[in-house]
Amino acid sequence: MIRFALAGLAANKVRSGLTMLGVLIGVASVILLLAVGNGSSAAVKNSITALGTNSLTVSSGAGGGARTASTVKKLTVEDARALADQANAPDVKSVAPVVTTSAAAVYGDISYTPGQVIGTYPAYFETANQKIATGDYFSNDDVLNSRKVAVIGSTTAKQVFDSEDPIGKKISLGGTPFTVVGVLATKGATGFNDPDDVVIAPLPTVQNAFTGFGSVSQILVQATSADTTTAAQSEITQILMGTHQLTDPSKLDFRVSNQTSLLSARESTSQTFTVLLGAVAAISLLVGGIGITNIMLVTVTERTREIGIRKALGAPKAVILGQFLTESTLLSVLGAGLGVAVGIIGSHFSVVGIKPVVIPSSVFGAFGIAVAIGLFFGSYPANRAASLRPIDALRHE
């Protein structure tokens, strides 16, 4: 029976090939697009765990949408010092005020502008989950003495030093010479920005060279554990309301955000993205299925006379039905099988910085749906033709 079906398909190679291509594209795109969506949400999930779940970010600006605080006080190092007070904030483990700026790093005749130049305290490294790969962190002593030292991210290291060992080398940042003391471990891009393209230096050094000693852009706070982040959050709010002389908790000039909530928002965005991609893929699968239906309808109609001849020769209905069903199933199985192969091979290449992660159920789902479509829509025309009286089939024009 498979032989009959193969012969039937071979009789019209171009048409069979095109139908198979339709199914192939449908199945492959379902697998690939879902893998891309899944890959991007996996990347977001990774960066959540990478950031640590017990870190909090205090940034200046009104919270809760109420921009009515009469004067917006910027965050200062004094604010950070107040937060570090163990008596008032028992759930806070460490505090790191952060200033960010941008400057070109010059080394020899290489000039490169890293994504961010950050001035902060050593506590930043643990809070932001930045690990050192070679060299060392800068110390509290470096901060107190405003030493011109810097820790650089792996991307920056590669851009500026290429294969050279950066440790101990001097780079010039906006005219100020900094000694590189450490290189951070690679965190990997999340698809949106590169966390490895940074230069981190002691806060007072950066303030001195670039931003001045006024305000800081953020204060990074680490809670004692993931469970105490909520408590730490309210302690921070209390303390900063005090230092900023605010009485109405609905009119704040700062914002305390929790990394987890920030990232789960981003995760849900990427989930929407996955659903969207899935919908596009499902449509292409449906189009492939309609292709099979169409081909089977044309094939069966075109071959009604042939069916009449076969019935006149004594072919039982089941054999005729079987032949056409085998043909359409073969078409869809071959098409879907090739589609799975293409989808899985395709998912080894990263798309716009996202490494696709194949969802196994999407492979089985897409394959199953394609085969089911072939069977279902193939059986209707085949059954209609096989039920004809031989003479009616023979008279078919």
């Binding site: 076969r310 006149a312 004594g314 039982p316």
Partner: protein, 285 residues
């Protein structure tokens, strides 16, 4: 479709008294197309003397007979033949094939009957497109569940019988009309059916091809097969032992030209060849 013969037939009523029962027994057979005023009675038989309604066609064909059906275009020859070949069902009446009422058979059994008992040759050849002559001839055997090697052997023999052994790998579009019809004949006889039905088998052929095909059919009848063929040509009808004439769905004449249990008249005429009819099949002129 509803058929009139609802009563099951007791076997005793079916089997006639005489020793060879007719392979084909048709009673009160009618076939009409369309409804109301537009109704076409393709088969009607004589009219009822009382109310003028069609009584239907009655016909018996003995085992081993060679019947030619003649009549003008539209007289219902093909309609009758299609019913005899179990390709179509009558509007009313009964058709007993080898004593079995075909009207009582289900789809499955009908396909068995078509496969085992009947070899049908169409006016328009009706070969399966894009399929080699060998595969065409193997087809009925495949449906009968014959094994591949045996199938091939028998198909080769059948093709050799019609003189097309060297054309086994040709597809229908690579064969002449006469060769196509001979492939169709080989396909009809490969299952060794008891009955060969041919609807104008020579209608599309030139006189030479006609002779070739008729020689094969003569030979088959000489070996005991029942043959019913439709023709417009007297020359073809002269090969038959019995000639029926149809007019407007009615049998108007029934002429016997030779005995049922003898060789077909053309072979009989060639005295010398009579005794070796079997060998003659392949080497007709």
């Amino acid at each position: 479709m509803a058929r009139r013969s609802r009563k099951p037939q007791p076997a005793a009523a079916v089997t006639p008294a005489g020793p060879p029962p007719p392979v084909i027994r048709v009673r009160g057979l009618t076939k009409s197309y369309g409804h109301g005023d537009a109704t076409v009675h393709a088969l009607r038989g004589p009219e009822d003397p009382v109310d003028g309604s069609p009584l239907g066609v009655d016909l018996d064909i003995e085992q081993g007979d060679f019947v030619a059906v003649m009549g003008s275009s539209g007289s219902g020859k093909s309609t009758l033949m299609n019913i005899l070949g179990c390709l179509d069902v009558p509007t009313t009446g009964r058709y007993l094939l080898d004593g079995t009422d075909v009207g009582h058979l289900d789809e499955q059994q009908l396909s068995l009957v078509r496969n085992r008992k009947i070899g049908f040759i169409f006016q328009s050849f009706n070969l399966v497109p894009r399929t080699t002559a060998m595969a065409q001839v193997e087809l009925p055997l495949a449906y009968a569940g014959v094994r591949a090697a045996e199938r091939r052997r028998r198909a080769e023999a059948a093709l050799a019988l019609v003189g097309l052994a060297d054309r086994a790998d040709h597809k229908p579009n690579e064969l002449s009309g006469g060769q196509q019809q001979r492939v169709a004949v080989a396909r009809a006889l490969v299952t060794a059916p008891a009955m060969l039905l041919a609807d104008e088998p020579t209608g599309n052929l030139d006189s030479r091809s006609t002779e070739e095909v008729l020689a094969i059919i003569d030979g088959l009848n000489a070996t005991g097969r029942t043959v019913v063929l439709i023709t417009h040509e007297n020359e073809v009808a002269s090969h038959a032992k019995r000639v029926l004439r149809l007019v407007d769905g009615q049998i108007v004449s029934d002429l016997r030209q030779g005995p049922v249990d003898g060789p077909p008249p053309v072979l009989a005429a060639r005295q010398s060849a009579t005794r070796q009819a079997g060998q003659l099949i392949g080497g007709a002129r």
